[in-house]
Amino acid sequence: MTLLEIKGLSAGYGPLRVLHDLDMTLESGERVGLVGLNGHGKSTLLQAIVGLTGWQSGSILLDGNEIGGRRMHGAGRTTPKIVRKGVALAPQGDAIFPGLTVRQNLDSGAFSARAWRERRKRREGILEIFPPLAKLLDQSVGTLSGGERRMVSLGRAFMGDPRIFLVDEPSLGLAPIISRAVIEALGKIDIGDGAMIIAEQDLGLIHGRVDRMLGMHAGELKQDIGDALMVGHPEQAPTLASEIEL
């Protein structure tokens, strides 16, 4: 079943146009990897789905309902509404609340009344996925390390029980061991009939953990590049997006 359908999406900031007429579909139950170099539009695509870009045009259909659409200015005005429809984004800079504790940060992700009532249960579910957070529940988030902050950000996004889970560069700024742990934890999250998009620069991390891989280059999407990687030397699959010729 098609969960998300994007048609002719263009988006940018001011006079700069980043995405050019993108088309994409997302089926329920699948994990998709989005690879590409920095500056080519991966983050912009994820932000356009939640409405955080400067302007966008084109249509984004979630379960057949239009959530995107033509918008000329006002980044973030429609974002709360889109988030409440079940789209969660864990952005590149984590965007967690520095003055609150870990527990409060996680609780802030439970924005609906039902999620709030079940917040303890959901918190425990997240602690199972990210065990290091269990000891840090009452610590202020400003004192945490990068990896722990990333876990808080991902956990918070998941507290709202989203249908579409967008993750923007989970390995950014993290040591290789920790980023591997984070990606493995992401793999353990049960997405049910929802979907997940992971935007990553490091191919080796997500290779094999996602069902499908899309390539992003200069604001344009190339579908299904996974096979392209397998041609040639499967043992030496390129680890950086720059090594693929898109």
Binding site: S10, G12, G14, P15, L16, R17, G54, W55, S57, M72, H73
Partner: protein, 518 residues
């Protein structure tokens, strides 16, 4: 062959024209080439009287000049009218309103130096004026100070108060400081009300002081005219001070280092805090002089100088006019003073009007009334560029935003034509064509090859590939011409060709490669 001509003419809809840029109304003065470099300057300086620029007009093929900064002309008109109208009208009411306007405008100009240039959000400026007024007035009453000395006394008083207020400014955040300065007025007000030694009469006001208008003619038309002219001179002095501080070194230093980049500018050697303090102290001293003028004009110092009503009114003036430009302060003051004093009979409704104007100004404009033009143009440019980015499919040769600034429009068309031609030729080039050239670089060619070669030949000399004969008939190389007289061509690579046909083909291949990669 010509029997096919019976088909209908194809009507193609002209593509919709999108407007770009904006029209600028420039007064153009045609000038003879003889006078191109002559300009009138202020004596003993290098500043032009009127700022005129000249340029070549490719349409009329002549030289022309235009006034590039019209603001000084507007100022001149405004000041002449401001001086003339009240003097000519001469009625009591108008002259008092006009004098009040000059005093308030001067205060606002100095206040704007503090808020706009120095970036210190201080609400104590009126209190500084008040303290100076009280000091000057008190001294004329108790120490028989002659009226010319009121001004230096006022300046010193203002400076001292400025020093006291400046001390917390460094340590405190903007909002805290603003609220704190609100308290300065209150402290002064309570003190003036209660302190006995000031000798204040009813409602805390001090009266019976000295002044510069002789007492006997004070309420006559002549006296009022003298008072107004004095006020006008005060306004000129305030404008000059604003211009000198804001437009010269101090102001430039401060504007170059905005508050956010304080650390950056400090690391570049700009002593930001010192410059700010200097502007603050100069403004405080100036406010003191204005306070002394107030005391000299009214021969009294009123408690309203410490009240929140007047402070709010002055604040409304600079908000409506626009913080950051001298025009804004003066015109805002004019508008509000007229509403406040001329229509004083309508009571509370006029203050309501002022409050509504203030609200409209802060909600919809970014720089008050005088920022409107810039704001409108910025908004238009932003909307158009976003829409254009969303709509454009052509990664164009000239960005539409640049087009109005390229004076010779034929350049734009030339680039567009060139681009179209290149796209057409790229489609023509294929392996057969290149093989054809390899077989015979010179001689009869097919139409497509001929078109391509003609395009290459027409290109600009700068960077053109050419065959260099190291040894005629034996060895050849490829070089690229520089296009500049006296500059030798540069070598491309080390390959040496033994026949000239090989060399020609190599040049052709390079040119094709360059064409494709553009």
């Amino acid at each position: 062959m010509s029997t096919e001509a019976s088909k209908e003419p194809v009507v193609r809809e002209a593509p919709r024209q999108q407007l770009v840029g904006r029209r600028r109304l420039l007064l153009r003065i045609p000038v003879h080439a003889d006078r191109t470099f002559r300009r009138r300057r202020w004596p003993w300086s290098k500043t032009s009287v009127v700022s005129v620029s000249g340029r070549f007009n490719p349409k009329t093929l002549g030289r022309e000049r235009f006034v590039s900064h019209k603001a000084p002309l507007w100022w001149l008109v405004f000041l002449v009218l401001t001086l003339a109208i009240p003097l000519i009208a001469g009625t009591d009411k108008i002259l008092t309103i006009a004098s009040t306007f000059t005093i308030y405008a001067s205060i606002n100009l100095m206040w704007m130096l503090i808020m706009g240039t120095a970036g210190i959000f201080s609400l104590a400026s009126l209190a500084v004026t008040g303290v100076a007024a009280y000091t000057a007035c008190w001294m004329t009453i108790n120490w028989s100070l002659p009226w010319p000395l009121m001004f230096p006394v006022g300046a010193v008083a203002g400076l001292l108060v400025g020093v006291i207020i400046a001390i917390p400014a460094r340590r405190m955040d903007g909002m805290y400081y603003a609220l704190l300065t609100l308290g300065v007025s209150e402290i002064c007000r309570a003190y003036a009300l209660q302190a006995r030694w000031i000798g204040a009469q009813s409602q805390g006001s001090l009266s019976g002081g000295g002044g510069f208008i002789p007492d006997d003619i004070r309420f006559t038309a002549t006296g009022q005219r003298i008072g107004y002219i004095a006020g006008f001179l005060l306004l000129l002095a305030a404008l000059a001070t604003y211009r000198l501080v804001n437009g010269q070194r101090l102001g430039l230093l401060l504007r170059a280092s905005q508050k956010e980049d304080e650390a950056v500018s400090e690391s570049m050697g700009i002593d930001f805090q010192r410059a700010r303090l200097a502007v603050f102290l100069i403004s405080s001293a100036a406010l003191g002089v204005i306070g002394a003028f107030y005391a000299g004009y009214f021969r009294a110092a009123s408690l309203s100088l410490f009240g929140t009503d007047l402070l709010l009114l002055l604040f409304a003036m600079i908000v409506i006019g626009g913080i950051g430009r001298a025009e804004g302060a003066v015109v805002g003051t004019l508008v509000v003073t007229v509403i406040d004093r001329y229509f004083i009979d309508t009571g509370a409704k006029r203050i309501l009007l002022v409050a509504i104007l203030m609200l409209i100004s802060v909600l919809f404009t970014r720089g008050g009334a005088f920022g409107l033009k810039d704001q409108w143009q910025e908004l238009r440019a932003k909307r158009r560029s976003s829409r254009r980015a969303a709509r454009s499919t052509r990664r164009g040769q000239v960005l539409p935003e640049e087009a109005p600034d390229i004076h010779d429009k034929s350049l734009i068309y030339q680039r567009r034509y060139d681009h179209a031609q290149r796209e057409h030729l790229k489609a023509l080039i294929n392996d057969d064509l290149m093989e054809e050239h390899r077989r015979s670089p010179t001689g009869l060619h097919s139409e497509n090859l001929e078109r391509v070669m003609l395009y290459f030949r027409k290109n600009d000399l700068a960077g053109k590939y050419c065959v260099y004969a190291i040894e005629p008939f034996k060895r050849y190389r490829i070089v690229a011409l520089s296009g500049l007289p006296g500059v030798p061509p540069r070598t491309i690579d080390d390959r040496v060709y033994t026949t000239i046909d090989d060399a020609y083909h190599a040049v052709f291949l390079r040119r094709v490669n360059d064409l494709r990669s553009r």
